[in-house]
């Protein structure tokens, strides 16, 4: 029964390849997008760290985004 399911009456190669290629490329694309996002978050966090204390306080007060990234970056470190 499992072999019948895998072979799909002779169409298995085409069906599994279609689903396999779709799942594989989507997974790789997801990982690449996630990696780029993390890289940008890390670079932004490092840039925030280079600011003087006053500048940093001002930026964190004005921007929730900077605050979120700074908090996440601190937690990760």
């Amino acid at each position: 029964m499992i072999l019948k399911f895998i072979s799909m009456n002779g169409y298995g190669l085409f069906v599994w390849l279609s689903f396999g290629i779709t799942l594989l490329t989507c997974s790789l694309f997801y990982l690449k997008t996630k990696k780029t996002l993390k890289k940008y978050e890390k670079e932004f966090f490092n840039e925030l760290k280079t600011l003087s204390e006053d500048e940093k306080r001002e930026v964190l007060k004005k921007s929730k985004i900077a605050g979120t990234i700074y908090a996440t970056g601190n937690k990760a470190n």
């Binding site: 009456n9 085409f14 279609s18 490329t25 989507c26 840039e47 929730k64 985004i65």
Partner: protein, 235 residues
């Protein structure tokens, strides 16, 4: 007027939506795959190869829908001169390219058992390849041109001119005598597809749309960070 698109609230909302999609995605993927690969019946002519439709058709729809959205945002960008639409397009275009390529590849894999050939220079297939090249040109335009305003103008022009290809893709199976079958599903007309196949198709469409939403939001988030980083001292 559109500043809210880059605001902190949108950023936090995006984070929450990403978490929500991540939490439900695998369950919906499993249900979709079970219906597509196990529960749906084989076709009376094409047999089991019809299952390729569950990835091929949604991929083609998404490829076309992404380009239609890019065109719309490019026109809005020309009229209102609002940069945010360009950020949305930058996030949408790689998704569109990915699904256009997937539609071509899975179509080829479906073509071999049903038509007896991997490829034919048929109107539908050729117009999809043209769409893929337009996507590549669009992406290259903002990757290669460093000056942002020029990149926005050129990429918008590519999108608007490239949109001529969309009705060609849609009506190619009617205008020309093609190997590709006419549409089985259309809005406002009775569908020629049975519910037992329609359900897995809609489920797989939902899975791929959720995936697109996830990628789009992650890319848009990256864009927001990139812009905030550029203006860090002015925040």
């Amino acid at each position: 007027m559109f500043k809210f698109l880059y605001s902190s609230n949108i950023y936090l909302l995006i984070e929450n939506i990403i978490k929500f999609i991540n939490s439900i995605f695998f369950i919906i993927l499993l249900i979709g795959l079970t219906f597509a690969l196990v529960l749906s019946p084989p076709d009376y002519i094409q047999g089991e190869s019809v299952r390729i439709m569950y990835v091929h058709v949604p991929s083609a729809w998404i490829g076309l829908a992404c380009f239609a959205s890019i065109t719309l945002f490019s026109i809005l960008n020309f009229i209102f001169k609002i940069k945010f639409f360009f950020s949305i397009n930058k996030s949408l275009s790689p998704i569109g390219l990915l699904f256009t390529c997937l539609a071509i590849i899975t179509g080829s894999l479906w073509g071999q058992p049903t038509w007896g050939t991997w490829w034919a220079w048929d109107a539908r297939l050729t117009s999809m390849v043209v769409l893929m090249f337009i996507y590549i040109a669009y992406i290259l335009s903002f990757k290669l041109i460093k000056e942002e305003q020029t990149a926005i103008k050129i990429s918008s022009l590519i999108a608007i001119i490239g949109s001529i290809n969309l009705p060609i893709i849609k009506y190619s199976v009617i205008w020309w005598n093609t190997l590709h079958q006419p549409a089985s599903i259309s809005i406002g007309r009775e569908n020629s597809i049975h519910t037992s196949m329609m359900l897995p198709l809609m489920l797989m469409l939902l899975v791929l749309l959720l995936y697109c939403a996830l990628i789009f939001l992650m890319k848009y988030k990256t864009e927001i960070i990139r812009i905030k980083r550029k203006n860090i001292k002015r925040l």
